[in-house]
């Protein structure tokens, strides 16, 4: 599903690359944690996968498409197949939970009939059936993150990418959010979660990719956050 071949990414004007010669293969339906301290390149890694950044060297294949050499006009199609979740939720404050999710379908031209069917369904899936008319500022952090996950998942993408999705949440809520990702993963969706939440990673025993200074230092099945400490 995701194939990363010898990818190096150096920001313009930066002294050293943020991602150094990384090779990773992620299969369809896998659940993967991307861990490492702040500044190790997790966000850069994710931005490369949605072609917000283009690698300086190497190739990235998503569902068989070489996305580094993809035509600009094809990028939207790529992104429709990848759902993204962020630490700061990125919800529109003047739209309700329902409207925030519907927006994602609306702007890719889905007909109203489909929007009316899929939005309530995905809101139920993330456990927000009673909150669809609430605005973001009427929702807790965990609930807002659920809206954002609903939005990422509503178009049934093959891949969900999450960049520190629990970074602003307390441990109990974080656990709920992680179970939600687990639930989504069980529908066959490939899930990649970047986090530095040690406890979470240790509890879930999923595949772990560990970055340090832009280098992939560990790729471990049923792994933990770190060996030492």
């Amino acid at each position: 599903m995701i194939k990363i071949n010898n990818v190096t990414m150096k920001y313009k004007g930066a002294h050293s690359p943020a991602i150094k010669d990384i090779n990773v293969d992620i299969d369809r339906g896998e659940f993967v944690f991307l861990v490492g301290p702040s500044g190790c390149g997790k966000s850069t890694f994710i931005r490369l996968l949605i072609r917000e950044l283009i690698p300086t060297k190497g190739k990235i294949f998503i569902a068989g498409h070489d996305i580094a050499n993809m035509r600009r006009g094809k990028v939207p199609q790529l992104r429709r197949n990848i759902g993204c979740v962020f630490q700061d939720y990125k919800l529109l404050p003047n739209k309700t939970a329902y409207e925030n999710v519907a927006f994602a379908l609306d702007v890719i031209g889905k007909p109203n009939r489909i929007i009316r069917a899929q939005v309530p369904e995905v809101l139920r899936l993330v456990g927000l059936e009673g909150k669809s008319e609430s605005y973001p500022d009427e929702l807790s952090g965990g609930e807002q993150q659920r809206v954002s996950i609903a939005r990422a998942f509503v178009n049934r993408p093959a891949i969900i990418l999450a960049d520190e999705p629990t970074g602003n949440l307390d441990p109990a809520t974080s656990g709920d959010i992680m179970s939600l990702f687990n639930k989504i993963n069980r529908t066959g969706t490939t899930v990649l979660v970047a986090t530095h939440d040690r406890e979470m990673v240790d509890n879930m025993r999923k595949r772990v990719l560990a970055l340090e200074g832009g280098t992939l230092i560990r790729d471990q099945q049923r792994g933990v956050y770190g060996y030492e400490e």
Binding site: G73, V75, K90, L92, D106, V107, I108, G109, R151
Partner: protein, 293 residues
């Protein structure tokens, strides 16, 4: 890609209501620019129109000496007619015909009773294909024994030519400068609209809205601003045109004033297109600089 005009128009109006001050400034500048362009074009067209009318009339009158034999008159006429690169038409007006005309023009006046005999000369009336050639023709005719004198409206014609040329240039330059200002202002209005919607844009990009879906509303907004500016300019222009035409008609009843309505519609159409182009160019500028998709 789905194209939903209603969505785009709704978004454009929403954004306009948010940034209406800068949008009004942009529209006003478009109006001003097209007004200047339209006004000078109108003047140039009108003067051009006069010129075409006068061109069709006589430009050079060659008065003949009395008592020139008919054959000489004939051969001179043929010679002038043979310059058919420049000459459109040569009409011979005999002494009798000249008197007839005079009588007609001053019908009812008792001035004619003071004229004894026929003091009027016979003449050739020459109309030209290109009024700018008048000088040359006059030079060729000068000094002939058959000819008593030559009259032509050289200065009038030249002045008209220069005036229209100048009106066009002044109009184009002023309008160009104003159009540039309008373009920059529209770009600025669109920049603000993009900024106001940056969160939506970020999410649209993230969920894979197509590039044109994201750009369209802004392009449309710029085009609407240009179009509104053009429509206002055209409205003002038609008022100005009516006022001027009335006054000119009153003052110069004999001049063929005004424009054929076809030219007027062409001008209107050109202004609408110009407004749309300014708007589209302004948005395109803003989109290039501020909306990386």
């Amino acid at each position: 890609m789905s194209i939903r005009p209603f969505y785009f128009i709704k978004e454009s109006f929403k954004s306009f209501s948010k940034n209406w001050i800068i949008s009004m400034a942009a529209i006003t500048t478009v109006t001003l620019s097209l007004l200047v362009l339209g006004f000078f074009m109108l003047v140039a067209f009108t003067v051009n129109n006069w010129m075409n009318m006068t061109e069709r009339k006589v430009e050079i009158v060659v008065f003949l000496n009395d008592g020139v034999p008919a054959e000489s008159v004939q051969s001179l006429q043929s010679e002038i007619m043979s310059w058919n690169d420049d000459v459109r038409k040569v009409t011979y007006v005999s002494k009798d015909q000249a008197l007839e005309r005079l009588k007609k023009e001053f019908k009812g006046s008792d001035m004619l009773s003071m004229i004894e005999g026929n003091p009027l000369p016979a003449s050739f009336e020459i109309s030209l294909k290109d009024p700018a050639k008048a000088d040359e023709i006059v030079k060729r005719l000068k000094g002939r024994s058959e000819i008593e004198s030559i009259r032509h409206d050289k200065q009038t014609v030249e002045r008209l030519i220069n005036f229209t040329k100048m009106a066009r240039w002044v109009g184009v330059i002023f309008a160009g400068l104003l159009a540039f200002a309008a373009l920059v202002l529209i770009a600025n209005a669109i920049r603000l609209a993009i900024y106001a919607r940056r969160r939506e844009i970020a999410i649209m990009r993230l969920v894979g809205a197509s590039n044109w879906f994201i750009r369209w509303p802004f392009l449309l907004e710029g085009i609407i601003q240009g179009l509104v500016g053009a429509v206002i300019a055209i409205a003002i222009l038609s008022v100005i045109r009516a006022a001027i035409e009335d006054n000119v008609k009153r003052l110069l009843a004999f001049l063929p004033t005004g424009l054929p309505s076809q030219s007027y519609w062409q001008l209107t159409f050109a202004l609408v297109i110009a407004g749309i182009m300014i708007g589209a160019a302004g948005s395109a500028l803003a989109l290039r600089r501020f909306l990386r998709v």
